[in-house]
Symmetry: C2
Subunit: 577 residues, 2 copies
Amino acid sequence: MEDNGYRKRKKLRQNGVVRPLLTDLYQITMAYAYWKSGKKKDHAVFDLFFRQNPFQGEFTIFAGLEECLKFLENFHYSESDIVYLRETLPSTIESEFFDYLKNLTAKDVTVHAIEEGSVVFPRVPLLRVQGPLIIVQLLETTLLTLINFASLMATNAARYRIAAGKQVSLLEFGLRRAQGPDGGLSASRYAYVGGFDGTSNVLAGKLFNIPVRGTHAHSYITSFTGTHDLHTKMLAHRVTGEEHDMLELCQQWRKELAKHLETLTEEASDGELAALIAFAIAFPDGFMVLVDTYDVKSGSDVKSNGGPTKFHGSRNSEPHMHWPLQRSGLLNFCAVAMALNNLGYKALGIRIDSGDLAYLSNKARETFQLVSEKYDLPWFAKLTIVASNDINEETILSLNEQGHKIDCFGIGTHLVTCQRQPALGCVYKMVEINGQPRIKLSQEVAKVTMPGCKSAYRLFGANGHALIDLLQRSVENPPQVGEKVLCRHPFEESKRAYVIPTRVEELFKVYWENGKICQTLPTLEGIRDRVQTSLKTLRQDHKRNLNPTPYKVAVSDELYNFIHDLWLQNAPIGELF
Amino acid sequence: MEDNGYRKRKKLRQNGVVRPLLTDLYQITMAYAYWKSGKKKDHAVFDLFFRQNPFQGEFTIFAGLEECLKFLENFHYSESDIVYLRETLPSTIESEFFDYLKNLTAKDVTVHAIEEGSVVFPRVPLLRVQGPLIIVQLLETTLLTLINFASLMATNAARYRIAAGKQVSLLEFGLRRAQGPDGGLSASRYAYVGGFDGTSNVLAGKLFNIPVRGTHAHSYITSFTGTHDLHTKMLAHRVTGEEHDMLELCQQWRKELAKHLETLTEEASDGELAALIAFAIAFPDGFMVLVDTYDVKSGSDVKSNGGPTKFHGSRNSEPHMHWPLQRSGLLNFCAVAMALNNLGYKALGIRIDSGDLAYLSNKARETFQLVSEKYDLPWFAKLTIVASNDINEETILSLNEQGHKIDCFGIGTHLVTCQRQPALGCVYKMVEINGQPRIKLSQEVAKVTMPGCKSAYRLFGANGHALIDLLQRSVENPPQVGEKVLCRHPFEESKRAYVIPTRVEELFKVYWENGKICQTLPTLEGIRDRVQTSLKTLRQDHKRNLNPTPYKVAVSDELYNFIHDLWLQNAPIGELF
């Protein structure tokens, strides 16, 4: 199944968009200037990293590696690409350059990377890309494009997962608000990687083998104006196969239940009942429906109110509020669910898409419990309650605080657009050329780059938690378990500490060498699992939403001195400070 | 050229992503419930509209229509789609339904739409989609996906264009921060539509025939450590063809110019000079380079400071600041530009990617003017100054206020992620089913839908400005030029006004009927022009950044009464208000 999904994905991308021309023009302009000035044999090392965790958090999930590797695998300018470049670049460009481009592949490039799905931190390279300067430079934009959004999405999803806890299901519903078609596909894919359980996006399901979920919209309910719209009323018993009139059965149940639910049958919408019956007949084993279309009985859809935020504070006004769920949707739902039960089917649950989600979910749960006890159907008390409607991380935290009975959140806009921070700022910086380390200085210390070819280690403590990430020069010996390691702040001289690791994880593996992917790539499920196991090694205080503790990234003493020697060598002696 | 671009685009999309499965699963679930309950012949009308202009503005640019029409043209479930759906949907689904899906096309659908590139307003439908309920419902998510981001991007770009004015060039540089590969392509396409002049995204250039622009990155400069890295020094005179030693020439010029620019030659970086010479030799007619890599002379790249915002307020501190431009980049640039001039080439200009952009652009312009006068080269005073570095709409407005000499902005992250509001909230609502109008009521009046099939008109005043948009029932006669038209607020009874239009524009045209696109579609250029002509009809106060005046959308008296009669019919008589 995964192989199949992978082949399809590969086909899509090859025919589709991840091609070497998906880059900034200046990469090609630079390539020509390098080529022309005899720098074809220059060798460079670039680090791809970010400087700040997104969402005011203190961790990031690294994602997009597989797509980068596939891009390298397929890196090749097509005939029509060359034609386009010839037309577009200045006519003074020598024709041999296009021959050079035509034969260019990524075979001389070596890529070290952190495992996809790992929790990662600022300044630790996610990718170290080495090889001929021209090709390594040509890869920049596409690698950034493939990693920036993937990692941002996976991080966002992982944050929602942390906020919601492990018991609650999370579904991604964002396609319609994403950055166009493939923005939506990427969002679905990396939301799943980050810890979501499924998506509404059918194509993402097909391409990436992600579970897809969905029932119906409010318009479905309102397209039924009354029970006369119900052209099919019969449903066969699950076991006996005997046909029953669902309308009759549901109407009986509605009458019966109205008493217990303290509602008048006349307050419930007949159009809604018809819609629910039609849905139950279509999906007798998958009866999961919206219950908030009608406020009270009427032929129209009176949505009771707006987003949940507005009502989050209003749960104390309960005695004076008449919520739609009880009067129409919930009564109709219970009636159809009980009728289905008579015919051997178990309903799945409800979705609430408006109103005070904490209050409404509690109310719905109470109703389910009441019916459960009344008719001795234990499963009825545990029907699934799905909530949607403009939910974000803060909504979930607020609902948790208030207490709710929601089993599943459907999340769209805020998830897929990463509204709180719609871009991760990964950069791609040269750290070495022709064996010479390069340092990029800046008046903003945070923007100073770490020169040279580096290795990265994660040091763990006795309790299994990650203590610190350590960058070293590649020529140094790795830190050893049980031995004292001096960890230094990269820029503040006096900030130093000894750490004795119980476990040391080398963060970089070589993923691309000699024109081949040289690691077995995990499935999407595998990456998704990696996210959770990797997050588990992170102390809770690094992961919390409010004022999380920064996780530390240190440099070895040797790297510290290397950086600062280079810094002094390169920085001018300025005016009096 | 356009035909070619169109064919390529079509191919990409067909092989790529805009397929009927790019939808929410619930659309297919609903389709089955409709199909199963005998609603195959039901006929529905849906409106696609938004409720609020983005970016706290008072206008929106409608974009994405062509992509919607192509989607309709190609709407067809493939064999493998059907296989996937069979595997994914409950096994209880009747096999005939899949046969039904297999043969489904959009041929019975009719789409009316506003012209792509038009300025549009809340509640006026952008699309009116009519046809069999099942297919019309199945189109929802994909149409929203194609219009939401396209319109958001085009609007964002148009706002940047308004902020920057007509004289300044705008380039989109956002690929690396977009929502993945196709998010980036959509961003480039609709930034161009909204009024940008070009993009750095080469694939977008190739696919959509958009001008591409770009020179080099800072890493290009730092990859040259000194003049010894210059393997080729010779450049032929543009006219005579005689070869000259550029290094020698540039070094002479640098010495000469250093006096006039009050800089010491030793303060300029030799690595930078080598990089610029190599670039000039590669692109003698396209010499446009970064000048802010080095703070002062040194072998390293000392970026002088961070983003422009930090320094926006610091222009008064000028006497004490030594800006990199003067000391290294600007001196080196002028030296190479003058050498090029000796060989018959005119340099294009510089890019500044850091620091106080207002101050630096003024400083650079002064320098160019000085050189221009000194050597009697009028064109030198007019060299292009490009500014980039985290620019957004507010940065441009602030730079305008301070006074700057920038000719071109390169804009990335803020443009393509629409940071200030990363999603436009278009919705798709049923307004009629089987000839019966449907109204969606809500306690939030803004969420009440306008029932029934409607026409939309834009009424213009004598000065050519748009006065108001008017929605009518489709059965009404259109408003007439020179005749009094009663325009009513859709929900507030007392808000009414007579308007006598000088011109009336019918906003909807039928774009899709009988399985065919039935309008000649404009080129991307055509849509881009439409944006500007359409915006020109909008009064300035609707377009301004700060506290813009809302443009009014009214309903006819007949539609007003129609809405309110339906409302009263459908709303319950509640408790005391």
